[in-house]
Subunit: 340 residues, 2 copies
C-alpha cells in the first residue's frame, strides 16, 4: 500500500486512499527544516506503507528557487520515509523515483492538480469534462479529455496565463489581493494594503464557512469566529469593530465573495474557451465547492452541464485531502501488487 502525500506551502495532506485521510496546517515558509519531522509523524500512522508524493510547496519563498524547493522537499520526504519506497508524481503523468524527480524537477514542481485530475477523470462519462477545484489558497481549472488532463499549461506560469490556475481560494487569500475597495455606507471605500483579513473572514461573515473557536489560522491569529472576522474586516477599512456595524462588514463581505466568484469565472471562461467540448460535465471539488457552484451558475456555457461533486463522492474526510487521496489511488493502481 502507498500513502499519498501532498506537500503544499501552508498544508500537509496525507491519505491511504481507502480508510483515512488527514490535513495539517504547516507553514512551510516559516520552518522548512521542520518538514521532515512533521512528515515522519504523519507517516507513523501507516507503518508499513510506501510513500507517493506530490507537491506545490516548492514555490514557498523560504526557497530561493523552485529547484532548491523540490530538492529540499524531496530530501525531507526521503528522511521521513526512512527506507520505505518513495515514488513521485510528475506532470508528465507518471510516477518516478526520487532521483528522476530531482533531475526533472520542472515536472515535479506543482504537480498535485495533475494527480487529482488524472484520478478524477475516470468518473466522467466519455471522459470529457471541466474540473474546478477551489482550494484554500488557489483554484485549479482543468479541462479533461479522454479522462486525462488536457490543459494548455503545465507549469504554474503557463497555467496562470491560460486561466487554468487562479491564485485565489476560500481561506488564505488576502482580502487586499481580491479588491482595492469595498462598499460602505453607499460609497466605495479603499481597502488597507495589509494582511488584516483573508477570504476565510469573508466566508465566516457570509455564513459559508463554519465558525471554529479552536482554529487560529487567521490573519491576526485570533479564532475563526464571526465576531473576530467582523473585527478583521473592519481593519481592512482602517476601522475596528467599534466603528462599523456587523451589517456593514457583512455587506463588504458579500461584495468580496462576489469578487472571488468573478475572478474565477473570468479565468474559467479563458480556460474553457480553449476546450468547448467539455461543457457537458463539470467536476467540482475543494474547500470552496460552493464557490465553484456559484461560478458555474453565472456562466451560460454551463447552463446544461451535469455537475458532479467530488466532495460528495469522497465524503468530508477524504475530500479535504483530495489530491493526496487521488495520489494514493493512482499509486495503488500503478504501483501496487496488481498494477504496473
Amino acid at each position: 500500500m502507498f500513502i499519498g502525500l501532498d506537500i503544499g506551502g501552508a498544508n500537509l495532506k496525507a491519505s491511504d486512499g481507502r480508510q483515512r485521510s488527514t490535513t495539517q496546517a504547516f507553514e512551510l515558509w516559516k520552518a522548512p527544516d521542520a518538514l521532515a519531522e512533521r512528515l515522519s509523524q504523519i507517516l507513523a500512522a501507516w507503518p508499513d506503507a510506501g510513500v507517493a508524493v506530490t507537491m506545490t510547496g516548492e514555490l514557498a519563498d523560504c526557497f530561493e528557487t523552485k529547484q532548491q524547493g523540490v530538492d529540499s522537499i524531496l530530501a525531507a520526504v526521503e528522511q521521513a520515509a526512512d527506507g520505505r519506497p518513495v515514488q513521485v508524481w510528475q506532470t508528465g503523468g507518471e510516477f518516478v523515483s526520487i532521483e528522476e524527480a530531482r533531475e526533472f524537477w520542472r515536472l515535479t514542481a506543482a504537480a498535485n492538480w495533475h494527480a487529482l485530475a488524472t484520478w478524477a477523470g475516470r468518473v466522467v462519462p466519455h471522459g470529457e469534462a471541466l474540473l474546478i477545484d477551489v482550494g484554500s489558497t488557489t483554484t485549479d481549472i482543468i479541462p479533461l479529455s479522454c479522462g486525462l488532463p488536457a490543459t494548455q499549461g503545465r507549469t504554474d506560469l503557463e497555467r496562470l496565463l491560460a486561466g487554468e490556475l487562479v491564485y485565489a481560494g476560500v481561506r488564505r487569500t488576502p482580502v487586499a489581493a481580491l479588491a482595492s475597495e469595498a462598499p460602505l455606507r453607499n460609497r466605495m471605500c479603499p481597502l488597507a494594503a495589509e494582511l488584516f483579513a483573508t477570504t476565510l473572514d469573508v466566508f465566516l461573515l457570509t455564513g459559508d464557512a463554519a465558525e471554529d473557536p479552536l482554529d487560529c489560522g487567521t490573519a491576526d491569529g485570533r479564532p475563526a469566529t464571526k465576531a473576530n472576522a467582523h473585527n478583521r474586516l473592519a481593519h481592512m477599512l482602517c476601522c475596528d469593530r467599534s466603528e462599523i456595524s456587523p451589517a456593514e462588514s457583512l455587506a463588504a463581505a458579500r461584495f468580496l465573495a462576489q469578487a472571488i466568484v468573478e475572478r474565477i469565472a473570468s479565468a474559467a471562461r479563458r480556460a474553457f474557451a480553449a476546450s468547448p467540448e467539455q461543457c457537458g460535465t463539470v467536476l467540482i471539488s475543494g474547500a470552496g465547492e460552493a464557490v465553484a457552484r456559484a461560478v458555474i451558475a453565472r456562466m451560460s456555457e454551463f447552463a446544461a452541464a451535469e455537475i458532479i461533486s467530488l466532495n460528495a463522492a469522497l465524503g468530508p474526510e477524504h475530500s479535504k485531502s483530495a489530491c493526496a487521496y487521488a495520489l494514493a489511488r493512482l499509486a495503488d493502481e500503478r504501483l501496487g501488487p496488481s498494477g504496473g
Copy 2:
C-alpha cells in the same frame, strides 16, 4: 527640550527637531510588549528631554481595538519616559496630557499626518497648499488652508473615503494589493495572492530605490538588492529567477510603479476637488517624494504649481523622520520656555 516620537506599526521615529533624527524598523504587531524597552533605548540618547508623542500604530492587529492600541502605546511611552514630561499630539491640533490622550483616544489615534501638516503649513506662502507625503506604507494628501490642515476627514476611515489617506507606499505595500496582473511577454499575467514582493522590490528594480545588502526588511527576509528583488517579483508570477529574465521583471516593475502613481493621483483628484484653491503650491515629502513628483506631473491641476520639497528643506536624516521632527518643533514652540 522635547523629543518627537512617531510610533507606527512598522517603524519608530524620533527627532529632537534640531540636530538629530533616527528611524528604526520595529514590527509592532509581532512584539507589542517589547515597545517600552525599544523606546527607552531610543530616548536614552536624549537624557534630559521631555517626550512629545504621536502614533499610527494603534491600527496594528496585535490590538483588538484602536482604543486598546492607544492605551497600550501610551503605557509603553509612559514606562519608557520614566518620569519625564509626556505630551501627546491630537488631531484637534494641540498637545494634551497622557490622561486626556487616553480619554479622547479617537483624537489620539492616527495623528502623525496632522502634526506634520501643522508644522509644514508655515513654510507655505499665504498658507494655501496641498501636502503630498508618500511614505513607506501609506500616503497622506492634506489640503492646507491658512497654514493649517483643512481636511474633510480626521479619522483614518474618513480620510480614506475622502482620498486624503491612500493605503499605498514605496516600501511595504504588497504587490498583490497594487494590481491583480502585470505584463509579461505581450500578455497580462495574473499575480499570486501572496506576500512574495512589495513596492520596495518594484523601486529597487526601476532604480528609484537604492540597493542595501544590509537591509533585510523585505518580503522574504533576504537583502534589498536588485537580484533578490528580481527573484521576489518572479515569485509574484509563480516563477523563480530561472523562468523570467531581469528585463521581464523590470517591465513588470515599471507597470507596477505606474499603478501606485495612478492610485495616488486618483485619490489626490478626489482630495483636491474639495479644495481647488490649493493648486498654487504643492509640498512633497516622504520616502516616496519621487512618486509624489510623478503624481503631480500627471495632474493638469498642478501644471503651474510651485513644488516645495520638504526632504530638500530638512536634509536626508530629518526627512526620514519628518513627522517626529515636526512634532519636536511644535513642542518646542508650544511647550518650550518661550512657548505656550
